[in-house]
Each structure stands twice: as structure tokens, then as C-alpha cells.
């Protein structure tokens, strides 16, 4: 259908009122759940850091200053300095961009592929279902982190490959959720109605099933973003992460981890906290979204 035609049916105010209703509900959920509200504030801070990081950071995150190496937190260096004298506060802030990019792109990728494959599997069933199921089973049979390691080791340790590996290991999860949600809706009245209206199966999958699954997928996406960051950090720990001296939380924790014993706790702690807060925030938002989406709570 042409957008113009569809636009002719749907009037602008309805979209707006729908949005307002959703927002109103979101406010209700957040009001009833202060933790989610807190998470959204955190997300805001993270996004600001990701966008304006280089301007916010008081120091050049890459500039070494061997005279000021391994300084504990001071007024000048809030989070202290690392072994090369780089300002950890600046590095933590600037790293937000890369970490969020990894999280967002890998999740977008897996949503596109896993989500579509799952919808196709759940909606069409038969061979599509079997093939998608087999692929998912095969991936699931690997311990996921080890598979990610293998992929990054095989393809080379670039940010792109970390993103690809994270997407691949999350494929089964998305495919399964999308599959089960799509197969539940396969026989729903409105899907049959869409058939009666003369919509082809593919069109129904994309225009009817997908938008209805989207909210549930959003919950999963939020949870996976946190996992993607953790995954990248784990890869960094065993040396398969991003390239130095790029600031990235995982690799900063990994670098600083060895220094905990020798007393330079701040090197690992602050990026670790940032990492934790980001993952924490995505997880809480995922939970919050679930509450918003969940029809059981939507009374």
C-alpha cells in the first residue's frame, strides 16, 4: 500500500493521542517504579556522555603524562590516572560513545536478522521454522562467550567483528522470542482478518505480526544491550577486545584488574562502575519496558 493511501485513512491526531496514551502509561509505570525512573535518568546521562563526551572530558583521553601516572583520585583527576598518566575520568566519559555504539549496533543487527528469522519461522512454520531452529540450536550448543571468542579470534579483533560476534551469539535468543511470539499470533483473529482482507502472507508477517511483536522485542533489546557491553569487556579481558589506546570500559577494567592487588584500585574501579551502571541501566529499562508492555499489568 502506498503511504499516502494509508495516510488518508489515519488522521494525525490519532497518532498523537496514541502516543500520549502510551506516554501517560509510561509515566504511571515509572511513577509506580522509581527504579525505572532512575534508570532512565542514567540512560540520559550515558547518552549525553556518548554524544558530547569529547567536549565534556576535562583532559584528552589519549594524552599520556608519565609525570602524573598512577595518581589516586584528586581534585584535578577525579578518577585518578592510569599507568600512562591518562586521566581516567576523561577516558570513562569518552568511552561511553564506543560502548554504546557496540551495544546499539550489535543489538540492531541481531534484531534485524534474528527477529526477522524468528518471525518467519514462527509465522510460516514448516521448513523455514526447521532451518531457523537448527541454526539457533547449533549456535546455542556452544557456550556463547566461547563462540564469541572464536569468532573474534577468527575474524580479527576489530570493533566490527566484536559487534558481529555479539550479534551472532544473541541470534538464538531473538529468533526464539520472535518465533514464539509470532506463532502465538499466527492464529490470532486479527491475522485471519488480515488474510480475509487479501493481504499476502509476507505482508501480514511484516505489517501485522512485526509491529505487534516489537514491544516485546524492545524489552529483550534493552537487556541484550547490557549483555553486549559485558561481552565486549570479557573479550577485552582475554585480549580480544578493541585496539588500544581507544578508551573502552571493558579494556580499561581488564588493564586495571591486575593493579587491584597492588592497591591501584581506581584504575579498574571507575570504568568498572561505569560499565556496571550502563549494564544496570539497560537491565532496569528492560524491566521497566516489560512492565509497560506487559498486558497483565496494563489494567
Amino acid at each position: 500500500m502506498s503511504a499516502a493511501q494509508e495516510g488518508a485513512v489515519v488522521r494525525a491526531p490519532s497518532r498523537l493521542s496514541g502516543l500520549l496514551a502510551t506516554l501517560g502509561h509510561a509515566r504511571y509505570v515509572i511513577g509506580g517504579n522509581p527504579v525505572t525512573g532512575f534508570a532512565f535518568i542514567l540512560l540520559g546521562i550515558l547518552v549525553i556522555c556518548a554524544i558530547f563526551g569529547p567536549w565534556i572530558a576535562p583532559f584528552d583521553p589519549l594524552a599520556s603524562d608519565t609525570m602524573a601516572k598512577l595518581q589516586p583520585p584528586t581534585w584535578r583527576h577525579w578518577f585518578g590516572t592510569d599507568a600512562l598518566g591518562r586521566d581516567i575520568f576523561s577516558r570513562v566519559i569518552v568511552a561511553a560513545r564506543l560502548d554504546l555504539t557496540i551495544a546499539v549496533t550489535s543489538v540492531a543487527l541481531v534484531f534485524a536478522f534474528g527477529g526477522l528469522a524468528g518471525i518467519a519461522a514462527g509465522f510460516f512454520g514448516g521448513w523455514t521454522d526447521r532451518i531457523v531452529g537448527r541454526i539457533a540450536d547449533t549456535i546455542m550448543a556452544f557456550p556463547l562467550f566461547v563462540l564469541a571468542m572464536g569468532i573474534v579470534a577468527a575474524l580479527g579483533n576489530t570493533v566490527t567483528n566484536i559487534v558481529i560476534a555479539t550479534a551472532i551469539i544473541n541470534f538464538p535468543l531473538y529468533a526464539r522470542i520472535a518465533r514464539s511470539e509470532a506463532s502465538v499470533r499466527r492464529e490470532a483473529g486479527y491475522v485471519m482478518a488480515a488474510r480475509l482482507s487479501g493481504n499476502s502472507e509476507w505482508r501480514i508477517a511484516l505489517t501485522t505480526i512485526m509491529p505487534n511483536i516489537l514491544p516485546i522485542m524492545m524489552v529483550q533489546m534493552s537487556l541484550t544491550m547490557g549483555y553486549a557491553i559485558l561481552n565486549a569487556a570479557g573479550l577485552s579481558f582475554i585480549g580480544l577486545g578493541v585496539r588500544p589506546p581507544t578508551p573502552e570500559w571493558g579494556i580499561m577494567v581488564a588493564e586495571g584488574a591486575g593493579s587491584i592487588i597492588s592497591g591501584e584500585w581506581w584504575i579498574a574501579l571507575f570504568p568498572g562502575l561505569a560499565l556496571m551502571l550502563a549494564v544496570f541501566c539497560f537491565n532496569l529499562i528492560g524491566d521497566g519496558l516489560r512492565d509497560i508492555v506487559d498486558p497483565q499489568r496494563r489494567t
Binding site: G32, N33, P34, V35, R134, I135, D137, T138, M140, A141, F142, P143, L144, F145, V146, A148, M149, G150, I151, A153, A154, L155, G156, G226, L230, A233, G234, F237, I238, G239, G250, V253, A254, A257, I260, I261, A268, G272, L275, M276, L277, A278, V279, F280, N283, L284, D287, Q296
Partner: protein, 337 residues
């Protein structure tokens, strides 16, 4: 029941074939040149060629795959070049260590997460609910290697309540005679309290590290499925029949809520096996995870393949167990066999 088991095993065959192919391909595209690595620090190109020939790496890929599959059918997973041992022997020696650690972590996690999840569901929206969510989420938000190192720092280095992170036993304690390969069980069987104490002490920190990591998914699914079950009609019936809250929650709601929890356990286990890799590295744990990582870094194909196959079989076995326990809990599935 046996028929079910057999049927289930048959359905896993395609996935197993997939695993064999993927693991083979994955390890062959690893960029490292094994031959160069093992020809020694001063190898000439000829020396490297020699090693290549010795390892059969000069053959075409399909030929290598054929040989791999033939060997596999004889139970031969090849030789690890990093440890110099047959992969089967290595896995045999190391698998119990990983399994013991993972199961210990999982059980610990279950013991904490399930009651927490139930409590959060029963007192939905209360302070406890939010606290449960925050605690569990914080646990999963920490990179597992960071948690591990922090625990070592605090419990071993600062407070000195934990033994040195040196593997499964104290350096000077001797391992109990092998029955199951699980030191905790073996030492109990042998009534070797010293070894039991030592292995429990060694297990504590890595076990806690894993437990912290797996708290969130278990607590979350317990809470969610408890909430779903608590809103079901039969719970209302039970309440209307005057059954006390405790009985309603534990006997009626919880048993029904167990089903999704058990399903999630499969995922969590796979999750933990991945996390194991990092934990084993931190705690010098002689398990398969650290073994695979080292092999991967050294482009040592055979152990990586062996590890992956072992994990796939473990995972499939675990899913079988989950399937069967599901049937034990839920009579509805029994009739569909």
C-alpha cells in the same frame, strides 16, 4: 520414557552435525599458523613446512575434515599442542573441575535467587521487590572477571579468610581417589575431611563469583513466573478454599512456576559455561574453559574442537535432563509421549 529419551537424542543430531562443521571451520579460519607457532622461535620456512606436514595441515580442507570426522568416530579428538596431551585425556581430566565449579555456582545461585524471586513476586511492588531487582541486576552488571578479582583481593589478600586462588585444592593437600571427579563428592566418599574442607574452601570464591553472575536471570524468571502463576485461577481457588498463604505459594504456585525456571536453567548453564572461561582464568582453575581459551589463543585446533563438542554434548545432555525433569513435574507432558 526411554522412547522419549531416544527421540530427543535423535532430534539433536542435526545440531550436533552443525556443531562439528562449525567448530571445524571456525578453527580452520583462525588466522594463526599452528605450524609456525610450534616450529619454534628460530624456525626457517622449511622447518615450518616440515611441522605442517607432520600435523597434516598441508592437505586440502575437505581432506582435513574427512580425517577429522574419521578420527572423531574412533573417539579420537586429536592432540593438544599446548599441553601435548590427547584432547580426550585433557578433557577427561578437566571436565569434572569445570562441571563441579559450574554446578556449585548454579546451586548456590539457585539457593539465593529462587527464594529472592518468590519473595519479590509475593511482595510485588514492595521495597523487597525493588531491592531484589536491584541486587540481582547489579550482580549481572559486573564483568565476571572483575567480580572474581575483587573477591580475591578482599577475601584472600585483605581479610585473609579465603585460601590462595590456586586451583581446586590447597597446594599441599592431595586429591581424593577419583570416583566422580568432583572433589567435594569424592572426598566425602573417601571420608577425607581435610580434602573436603580444602576443596570447599577453594570452590567458595569462584563459586560465589559465578553465583553472583547468574543470580539475575534466575531471580527474574522466578519472579515473573511466580507473578504469572499467582494471578491464575487455581491460585484463587486455593485461596478461596482457605488454604493458608504459605501452602498456596509453595505447593500450588511455586511448583507450577518451576517449569519456566527449569527451562531457563538450561540457558543459565550455557551462560555460566561461558563465564567459566573468565573465572577459571582468574582462579587458576584447571577446567575446560581456560583450556579452550589458551588453545584458541594458540590456534590449537584440536582442543577447541574437542571442547566445543564436549560442551555441545553436555548442553544436549543437560537439556535432556531438563526435559525429563519437566515431565516429572508436569503430568501434562507425560501423556503426550
Amino acid at each position: 520414557m526411554l522412547k522419549v529419551l531416544f527421540g530427543r537424542i535423535l532430534t539433536t543430531i542435526p545440531a550436533l552435525i552443525g556443531v562439528v562443521v562449525v567448530s571445524f571451520l571456525l578453527t580452520r579460519v583462525l588466522p594463526g599458523d599452528t605450524a609456525a607457532y610450534f616450529a619454534g622461535p628460530a624456525a626457517t620456512p622449511q622447518a615450518i613446512e616440515e611441522v605442517k606436514k607432520k600435523l597434516g595441515l598441508d592437505r586440502p580442507l575437505p581432506e582435513q575434515f574427512r580425517r577429522y570426522v574419521v578420527d572423531l568416530s574412533h573417539g579420537d579428538l586429536g592432540q593438544s599442542l599446548t599441553t601435548g596431551q590427547p584432547v580426550v585425556a585433557d578433557l577427561k581430566a578437566r571436565l569434572p573441575a569445570s562441571a563441579e565449579l559450574t554446578l556449585f555456582g548454579l546451586i548456590l545461585s539457585l539457593l539465593i535467587a529462587v527464594p529472592l524471586g518468590i519473595l519479590a513476586a509475593v511482595k510485588q511492588g514492595s521495597f523487597i521487590d525493588h531491592a531484589c531487582r536491584a541486587i540481582a541486576t547489579a550482580g549481572v552488571s559486573l564483568p565476571v572477571f572483575f567480580t572474581g578479582l575483587l573477591l580475591v583481593y578482599l577475601f584472600y589478600f585483605i581479610w585473609q579468610i579465603s585460601p590462595a586462588p590456586l586451583g581446586r585444592l590447597d597446594v599441599f593437600a592431595s586429591a581424593p581417589p577419583t570416583v566422580t571427579g568432583f572433589y567435594l563428592i569424592d572426598s566425602l566418599l573417601a571420608r577425607d575431611w581435610e580434602a573436603f574442607r580444602s576443596s570447599l574452601a577453594q570452590l567458595a570464591l569462584p563459586g560465589i563469583t559465578l553465583a553472583i553472575f547468574s543470580l539475575a536471570p534466575i531471580a527474574r524468571i522466578t519472579r515473573a513466573s511466580m507473578l504469572a502463576v499467582l494471578s491464575m485461577d487455581f491460585v484463587r481457588t486455593a485461596r478461596a478454599s482457605g488454604l493458608p498463604a504459605r501452602k498456596v505459594v509453595m505447593t500450588y504456585a511455586f511448583r507450577n512456576a518451576m517449569l519456566p525456571v527449569i527451562t531457563t536453567l538450561g540457558m543459565v548453564f550455557s551462560f555460566l559455561l561461558g563465564a567459566n572461561v573468565l573465572v577459571e582464568k582468574v582462579f587458576a582453575w584447571p577446567g575446560v574453559g581456560s583450556y579452550a581459551v589458551e588453545a584458541l589463543i594458540a590456534s590449537d585446533f584440536a582442543p577447541v574442537q574437542g571442547f566445543v563438542l564436549a560442551m555441545a554434548i553436555l548442553y544436549i545432555a543437560l537439556n535432556l535432563m531438563i526435559d525429563l525433569s519437566y515431565r516429572l513435574i508436569d503430568p501434562r507432558l507425560e501423556s503426550t509421549t
